[in-house]
Every structure is written in C-alpha cells, then in structure tokens.
Amino acid sequence: MKRFTGFALALLALGAIALAQNALLINGAGATFPYPAYSKWFDVYHKQKPAIQINYQSVGSGAGIRQVTEGTVDFGASDGPMTDKQLEDFTAKRGTQILHFPTVLGADVPTYNIPGVSAELNFTPDALAGIFLGSITKWNDPAIAGANKGVTLPAADILVIHRSDGSGTTYIWTDYLSKISDTWKTKVGTGTSVNWPVGLGGKGNEGVAGLVKQTPYAIGYVELIYAIQNKMPYGKIRNSAGVFVKADLAGVSAAAAGAAKTMPEDFRVSITNAPGKAAYPVSSFTWLLIPAHIQDAAKRDAIKGFLHWMLTEGQNYAEGLAYAKLPKEVVVKELKAISKIQ
C-alpha cells in the first residue's frame, strides 16, 4: 500500500513538473471538413515556432460552435457559418463577439461505392435530392441513369450514408439541397444536424468515408480531400448553368469568385449553387471561429500570429491538400480584420 502511494505521488509530481514545458497550449475544436489542412498547418507552425502548440480536435462543426461558445476551447472551426441566434447565444454567454475567419475553400463531393462501376457518374440536382430524401431508392433509377448514358447501373438498393454528428459538411450539403429542392427545404431544412429521411450515420468526414468505402452500393457526401486520400470515386454535379462539373480547385475558386467581391464584413456567406459555367455547386468557405476578446495576452498574440501566418504562408499548403486558396480580396479584408481581436 505504501509503495503504491509512493509510486502514485511520484507520477503525480512527474506529470506536473517534469512535463510542464514552456510550450503554450492552445485548444481548438470543430470541423472535420478542413481537418487535413489544419492538421498540416498546426504541425508546420509548431515546427516553426516550437513554443506554440495548437491542439485541434476534429469533432465536427457543431461541437466546434458549442465548445467555443461554452469557452472550453480557445477557438472553434465550422464550415457552416454560425446563425444569428448562435451569434447572440455566444455574446450572451461570453460577453464578447465571435469573429469568423475564412481559411480555405473546399467542396463536398458525392462519393459512392458501386461494385463493377468505376466510371465517373453525373448527378443532377434532382437526383441528389431524391436519393437523400429517399424517393429514389435504386441505382438504376431513370433520374440517375438518364444523366449517365453509357454506364450500366445495377438494380441494387442505394445505401445512403450521412453524418451522425453535428457537421459543417452536412450544413454545406443541406444548404445546397435546400436551394435546389423545395421539398428538401420544407421537409428537412439546413443545419449542422438534421432529421435525415434515410440512411445511416458515420462520425465525422472520416466516418462517412470509412463507411462508404466498406459498404457496397453506398453513397455519401464528404469533403473532397477525403475522397482523394482514400482513392474513392466521386461524381460530377450539374451546376446552375447546366454544366456537369467535377469538384476541383478551379471549380471551387470559380464558385467563390463572385462572393469574393461582395464579401460581407463578418465573412459569413454561402456559395453553394453559385452562378457561373465553371462553378462547382457544392463549394464552401470554412471558418475559424475566434472570440473578439481574448483575456490571456500570450494566447491572443499566438492566435493573431497564427492567423497572419495562415493567410500568407499557410495558403501555400492548401492546394497540395485539394483545398482552394482564398481569393485575394478576401485575404486582404481578413488581414485587416485580425486587428479586431483584442
């Protein structure tokens, strides 16, 4: 018993003293959508500035919004901009405003796993809405086959996979579906967590990708990089100009081009179903959520320093991970906005 207590006390001391590095630990949580990029950024930044450790946990945009509102993390991240009500909640709880900082541009892609079909499928907006509403149940339904002449689609049931957690990726996807389908808008709506008519849930982009990869005849929506990293096929979607576009950096940048010029002060904007021939319809900004007032001076400076780095050097890493850089006009505006953090 004595030995045990002694051992425990030693461990306690060890934990407290020996590992109390001088490193400043900043905690963030939120979106899985940009996680590959953030993970890379925070790693590179830590190598450049070893005294700063930014611990980001990819737990979903919903959790990011919630935890930064409660103050249990220093910053949040979300691909769905906070609603007005959420902004009010934040100010009510924390006594200051929450600022949105776009970081990169990404795309939600419809990824699928159909044994025997390796071709790239074309999806019309109606087909996607129907699949996720549950009104289209088989792969060889005319709504899908019509846009894919030349591909033999099996008569198998479509297994829909969606997010089980509160997700900005879901927000982007449902935002798009609400825009192109009135049925979806009234029946389900837009949100980080919705009442899905069909399908089963995976946790995080990672979970959805994992499930689609392992489940034959499945379809799900994930951020582009997850489909690429896992070598999963993803389809083209017909945009508002009638062109079938595959998600890539050009398509996403084209979608953001219009919004870049009319970007509001708080940077909250939706670019799904954007006009333009080259625009990819399910594109989105993703944001870091930073409180306007940060008490701890060291943390404040570290976060501001990181934001500056992110907008300049960090952007160079985006394309390597299949995220599009921010438009120049947006970067300029954001650099100015950093000074709002007090």
Partner: protein
C-alpha cells in the same frame, strides 16, 4: 431391472441427458474461446505495429504515415494514477466506516449509494464530470477525466474493503484491543493489514475496469495531439485514440488502433491476473 417396456423411454432420457450435457460443454467452450479469439485478432493485427515508434512518437498529421501514440500512453497512465488517488481513498475509508463504525441505517444508505454509482452508465458519469469540472472552469482537463474515472472506482473499492474487513477474524481484533490499543489503532495496525490482500485485489480490479473506459473521457479529457503538461489540459488517452482511429478511413490509423487495442487489453488482462494471483497467494499463505 429394466423391463422391455421401459427401455426405449429410458434410452431416450439417457441419450437426451448425454446430448444436453455435451451441449452445455459446447457452450462453455464457446464462452472461453471468445477471449482467445479477441486476443488472437489483436495479436494478429496489432502485433506487428507495436514497435518502437508506437511508444515514442506523437501522432502524425492526418493522412500522413507514421507517428505513434506516446502521448496517449502517458495520458492514460496519468489518468489512471490520478483516478486511483481520487477513488481509492474514498472507497477505502468509506469501507472502513461501513465495516468498523457504521450503524445499520447509515450503512444501508451508503451501500445503496455505492450500488447506485456502480450501476450508473459511464456516459452519465461523463456528463456529471463535464457539468462539474469542465464547464465552470472552461477547459477540458486530465483532472476532470481522472475525476470521472475515480468515481467509477469508488463502489468496487468500497464494497470489497467492507467485505474483506468484515472477514478478518474477531479474535485478531480482540487481541489487539486486549493489548490496550484503541479502536482506530487496532484497525490501522492489525485489521487493515490482515485484509490488505483482498483490498489490493479490489483496487486492481477497479483500476482494470476504468482503464478501458472511453465514454466518460470524451467530454472530460477530450484529446490532444501533443503532450499534455500538468493536469489542467486536455490529454490523449489510449481508449479515445482507439475509437477515433478505428472509425476513420485511414489504413495506417487502423493499424495503430489495433496496436493500441493490444496494448490496452494486455494492460487490463495483466492487472486482472495479478489481482487474482494476489488473492490466491494470500489464501494459500494463510492456510499453510
């Protein structure tokens, strides 16, 4: 003497008996083999991945190969150490009260509360620790995770301490008292040491139980890509890493999840075996 009239019926009953009894044997074999199946899979998939990197490196950025779980291993160690420091004294001293001082009414209430705690799903304990220690202080922390785990250790420690203290023979106590020791001194120097093995077993079993708990850590210790200095920051832990990596689509993460699973299960089983051996040796020692 069997008449030919009763023979067929008897034959039927006898063969039924043989069949049913062998079926029960099959059941037992199945039950035991589940354990070996689990171990087998973990060794098969995780064995090769438990290498030096696994023990020494931090996790790599998403999608990149390599990296390890050094911070999770240390995180789990810290969580368990602190959980024991929180849960064992409460259970131990509470058990002493029940066995040595407690009245009937008070004893009943305390035992009832311990049973309540024991039956509480671990996720509910996680919610409690979040509301108590994360929200008001505005950060996830090793401490809140250890607190949740510590609460879970209390019921087992409490009941076992009481049981083993009560089992100490009366003449040992009376001997101590006859020699002039006060009650508390008798407990401390005679009764507790006599029950020491049983209590240690219980503590080890409680430790093994919470070592694998994931749910309460999800909202308390959260997770951390880096080392977690001190007790006030979020920390990575083996069970949470296993969960996170297992549901991801990255093969490299899957490999690491198996390795972590093997390590965790190994730890839990070793603690269990040691605990039982302690008890057995104690019993043997007393008999000889």
């Amino acid at each position: 003497m069997m008449t030919s009239r009763r023979n067929p019926r008897l034959l039927w009953r006898k063969s039924l008996s043989a069949v049913m009894l062998s079926l029960t044997g099959v059941c037992a074999v199945v039950a035991v083999s589940v354990l070996f199946l689990i171990l087998g899979y973990l060794v098969l998939h995780g064995g090769r991945s438990v290498n030096w990197d696994f023990f020494t490196k931090l996790p790599a950025p998403v999608g990149e190969l390599g990296g390890g779980m050094a911070n999770a291993i240390l995180g789990s160690a810290k969580l368990l150490a602190l959980a024991s420091l929180i849960g064992v004294p409460i259970g131990l001293l509470g058990g002493v009260y029940l066995a040595e001082f407690g009245g009937r009414g008070a004893g009943f209430i305390v035992r009832y509360a311990a049973d309540l705690l024991n039956g509480t799903p671990s996720i509910v304990i996680g919610i409690f620790a979040y509301a108590l220690l994360v929200l008001p202080f505005k950060h996830f922390s090793t401490f809140s995770g250890a607190f949740a785990l510590g609460i879970m250790m209390v019921p087992i420690t409490l009941r076992s301490t009481e049981e083993f203290l009560r089992a100490v023979p009366l003449n040992l106590r009376e001997g101590a008292l006859a020699l002039g020791a006060s009650k508390s001194r008798a407990i401390l120097t005679v009764v507790l040491p006599a029950a020491y093995r049983g209590i240690l077993t219980a503590v080890l079993l409680a430790l093994a139980r919470v070592a694998g708990e994931t749910a309460p850590l999800l909202f308390t210790a959260f997770s951390n890509r880096f080392w977690s200095p001190g007790w006030n920051q979020p920390t990575a832990s083996l069970p949470v890493m296993i969960y996170t990596y297992a549901v991801s689509p990255y093969d490299d993460w899957h490999r690491q999840a198996w390795a972590a699973g093997l390590l965790l299960l190994g730890l839990v089983l070793v603690i269990n075996v040691v605990a039982r051996l302690v008890l057995l040796r104690g019993a043997a020692g007393r008999r000889s």
